[in-house]
């Protein structure tokens, strides 16, 4: 015999009346005010122009009303001689926007500062957290260095200030060049890696001016492409920093339930980002067709891949976009601590 109590009936969602949101009312913008007519009043509408009664007077303009209000409260109101900025008043008020004339509606729709159609809702660039901010353009400082005054009795002169970037023996070379050299190194053969690095830079120097693909934007502050071959280190840095992903996906084991791994986006630091990008470039280069022979063939392919990255032809851009897309999707998996 079936039970009388229908268990299934409780599985349905119980509708809960949501608490009505208190709407934020603009005190100034009151488009229509209900006119109250007492029973004793005549049914004929009063002649607005002749009546002395305040309720029969036509409503003032929003700006006038705001000016009156400001006068009462003793604050600075809008300047009545300037006209009413309608766009500002209806901003954020959907119901008021619907009543606007079509010209103004269209103007609101095509606002210049909104993102173009089809673009991402999230940013794929990051600002450098290093102190200098922008790229190292390799510009030579032609200002004479500040010379310290000669102090008698010292054996050596005081150092020139500011101390140049490459004055430290362990950091005398460009950080990107150092990092790429180390990543190029195989079996601990650093000299071979350095030779490859020199060949890569030489190839970048002698290859033609790259044509930038506008759909694959390089990082902000990039110099014009005609400057790149003359500054191969900048060329290399630009390619690596542009294609480097901002994050990686960490797989939290078993956190998604049922033994499945939960994807969590994890932001990367600058050096980590560069490392990822260089490893992508090296793996893509090794998959390229080997057209040369001898010691420099791999270096040449790496250089070709770097040029392809800057020109937007490399498949690494899709890889980067995929990572970013995955990261945006996995953003939902982050549980932030509750705010108090």
């Amino acid at each position: 015999m079936p039970p009388r109590l229908n268990l299934l009936g409780f599985t349905r969602a119980i509708p809960i009346q949501p608490k009505p949101q208190t709407q934020w009312l603009r005190p100034v913008v009151r488009m229509s005010s209900p006119q109250i007519r007492a029973y004793s009043d005549s049914k004929e509408p009063p002649a607005a122009d002749r009546s002395k009664r305040p309720d029969s007077k036509p409503l003032p303009h929003v700006s006038q009303e705001a000016a009156t209000m400001a006068k009462i409260t003793g604050t600075e109101g809008p300047d009545l001689s300037q006209g009413t900025p309608v766009e500002e008043i209806v901003k954020g008020d959907k119901s008021a926007q619907d009543k606007l004339p079509k010209v103004m509606k269209d103007a609101i729709k095509t606002q210049p500062n909104t993102a173009p159609k089809g673009s991402r809702a999230y940013s794929t660039t990051t600002a450098s957290i290093a102190g200098d901010g922008g790229l190292d353009m390799g510009l030579v400082d032609f200002k004479p260095p500040t010379t310290a005054p000669q102090i008698p009795g010292l054996r050596f002169a005081l150092p020139v200030l500011p101390i140049p970037k490459d004055a430290h023996v362990k950091h005398r070379y460009d950080p990107v060049v150092d990092q790429v050299t180390n990543l190029l190194m195989r079996h601990g053969k650093k000299a071979a890696a350095q030779r490859d690095m020199a060949l890569i830079l030489q190839h970048l120097r002698t290859s033609g001016i790259p044509t930038i693909n506008p759909t694959r934007p390089l990082i902000a502050g990039a110099p014009p492409p005609s400057h790149l071959p003359l500054n191969p280190i900048l060329y290399l840095t630009l390619a690596i920093d542009s294609v480097a992903p901002l994050l990686r996906i960490r797989l939290q084991k078993g956190a998604a339930g049922g033994g499945a791994a939960l994807q969590l986006p994890l932001p990367l630091g600058q050096r980590q980002r560069r490392r990822t990008a260089v490893q992508w470039i090296l793996s893509a280069a090794s998959r390229r067709r080997n057209t040369g022979s001898g010691k420099g063939s791999f270096a040449q392919r790496v250089a070709q891949e770097i040029v392809a990255v800057v020109e937007g032809k490399s498949s690494l851009w899709e890889r980067r976009n995929a990572i970013h897309k995955q990261g945006v999707a996995a953003r939902a998996n982050i549980i932030l601590p509750r705010k108090r």
């Binding site: 030579v140 020199a198 030489q202 003359l230 090794s286 080997n290 040369g292 022979s293 001898g294």
Partner: protein, 489 residues
């Protein structure tokens, strides 16, 4: 319920086939499976399709030779067509479109090149000379020509010295023209081949006839390819002891010489009556003579000799005969004689000719310079050559304190005889030009050229020049280029 022992014996009874007659076996066998599943359980599993080896058991280590997911994919690119790789490796690029053009760069001029006034300046090589130098394969792919807008060289101290040699030959009296013989030696990357190229450039500018045996870089002819048995050879008829000539090599050399010296050879008519295996048209020019040898390899060696005869007639231009990679011709070649003995390189006719000129056995009636550059990167060991050069350098430094030959090293007497003049304090014809480091002024000059070309992004001041000059091993020009331009850390 019957005890289990009974049931078991009953089932075994029915399975014991031997007790049943043959006729009843077929009837009984279907019953066999009714009580037991062991037959099916212990039977060999039927082999699956396409899988011969069973998968390894859990916890058992196996050798996995397949590429795992974690392993990076190796080089899976397609292989290039035959010959493409070598062409790319040996390609000579003389221009970098990205480099800035140095507006203040002047060309070497015919009138002033031998004056020595341009010491310490960087001068460009004129375009027609560049073509000629390309024809005689004077440029090497390892040199840094491809980094700059157009080829230019630094007029260093040794260059001025070489210009002085050419001037000396040109200014010697008609009828007793001088023949100057020099060996270029020095450190690795020190600029020996470039100095040779500068000598060739000056000779081309002064309308000399230039014959160059380059080091093996692209294709034959090359100094190393004369001796490494890559081209065909044949004994020269009527020679005692037997000499060997190389048809194809000589024909190619003639073709290159013709291409480089065409205006000079065109202007000279054949005056002697050479005995050639092929007919030469009457009133022929030297160009036609050389073409004959270049097109017909079998006539190449007689044509070469006939050309040399023609150039020896008085009133003809001087000759620059140069070779890069001297140690390749100072040893036994890789050719074998009929007795399966190695042929000494000096028994090959072309090399014999060069050695005769270098040792002074043959002199040039119209004057000329014989240049032989050594190499430090691509050189088979030749202790006799090394010793001779060391002695010659010692003679320049300190003539009173001579070196002796290491008795424990094998001596090649033919080489010692050929380079006798190098070790002789009295002989003046053959000497060594030591290509050393640049001075700081020269280094500054070439580094300013680098900076003006946009290849060096630094302020060239005294401190910077001194730093790079020291890093380059006291101004070794190749190392200087590596340190400043190529960013070879």
């Amino acid at each position: 319920m019957p005890p289990s022992i009974c049931l078991r014996s009953f089932s075994q009874l029915s399975l014991d086939r031997s007790v049943h007659s043959l006729a009843s076996r077929s009837r009984l066998s279907p019953h066999a499976a009714c009580f037991s599943t062991s037959a099916a359980r212990f039977a060999n599993p039927s082999p699956k399709k396409g899988r011969v080896v069973a998968p390894p058991k859990r916890g058992q280590k196996t050798l996995n030779v397949k590429r795992g997911r974690k392993d990076p994919q190796g080089d899976v690119g397609k292989r290039p067509a035959p010959g493409e790789r070598k062409a790319q490796r040996k390609r000579i690029v003389l221009r970098n479109d990205n480099a800035l053009e140095v507006t203040a760069l002047h060309d070497m001029a015919k009138a002033t090149i031998l004056s020595g006034l341009d010491e310490g300046r960087v001068l460009g090589i004129p375009e027609n000379v560049v073509d000629a130098l390309r024809a005689v394969e004077a440029f090497k792919p390892t040199q840094g020509w491809g980094l700059f807008w157009r080829p230019a060289t630094l007029m260093r101290k040794e260059t001025i010295q070489m210009a002085g040699l050419l001037k000396e030959v040109e200014e010697s009296e008609e009828g007793q023209k001088k023949t100057i013989r020099r060996v270029l030696s020095g450190e690795r990357l020190g600029g020996k081949s470039t100095l040779l190229l500068q000598g060739l450039t000056m000779a081309f500018l002064r309308n000399w006839v230039v014959i160059n045996l380059p080091e093996g870089i692209t294709d034959y002819p090359a100094a190393q390819d004369i001796t490494n048995a890559h081209t065909e050879y044949a004994p020269l008829p009527g020679s005692q002891p037997t000499q060997y000539f190389q048809e194809t090599y000589t024909a190619n050399l003639l073709a290159q010489t013709l291409k480089a010296n065409e205006p000079v050879l065109e202007s000279i008519n054949v005056t002697t009556n050479p005995s050639l295996p092929l007919p030469l048209p009457a009133n022929a020019t030297l160009k036609q003579l050389v073409e004959l040898g270049a097109v017909n390899p079998e006539a190449s060696w007689p044509v070469f000799l006939a050309l040399w005869e023609e150039l020896s007639v008085s009133g003809r231009p001087s000759i620059l005969f140069a070779l890069d990679g001297l140690s390749h011709i100072m040893k036994d070649s890789d050719y074998l004689s009929a007795e399966v003995k190695p042929i000494h390189a000096h028994d090959l006719t072309l090399i014999r000719h060069f050695i005769d000129c270098l040792s002074g056995q043959k002199s040039l009636p119209n004057g000329g310079v014989i240049l032989a550059a050594t190499s430090r990167s691509n050189c088979p060991s030749s202790s006799a050559l090394e010793h001779s050069i060391q002695v010659a350098e010692q003679l320049q430094r300190d003539p009173n304190n001579l070196l002796h030959y290491n008795p424990y090293k094998k001596v090649d007497q033919r080489v010692m005889d050929a380079l006798k003049d190098l070790r002789d304090p009295e002989a003046k014809g053959l000497d060594v030009i030591k290509v050393g480091g640049l001075s700081k002024d020269e280094a500054r000059s070439i580094m300013e050229y680098y900076a003006e070309s946009g290849m060096l992004r630094a302020k060239v001041d005294d401190g910077f020049v001194s730093e790079k000059w020291s890093l380059a091993g006291m101004g070794n020009i190749g190392e200087l280029e590596r340190a400043s331009v190529r960013q070879r850390i």
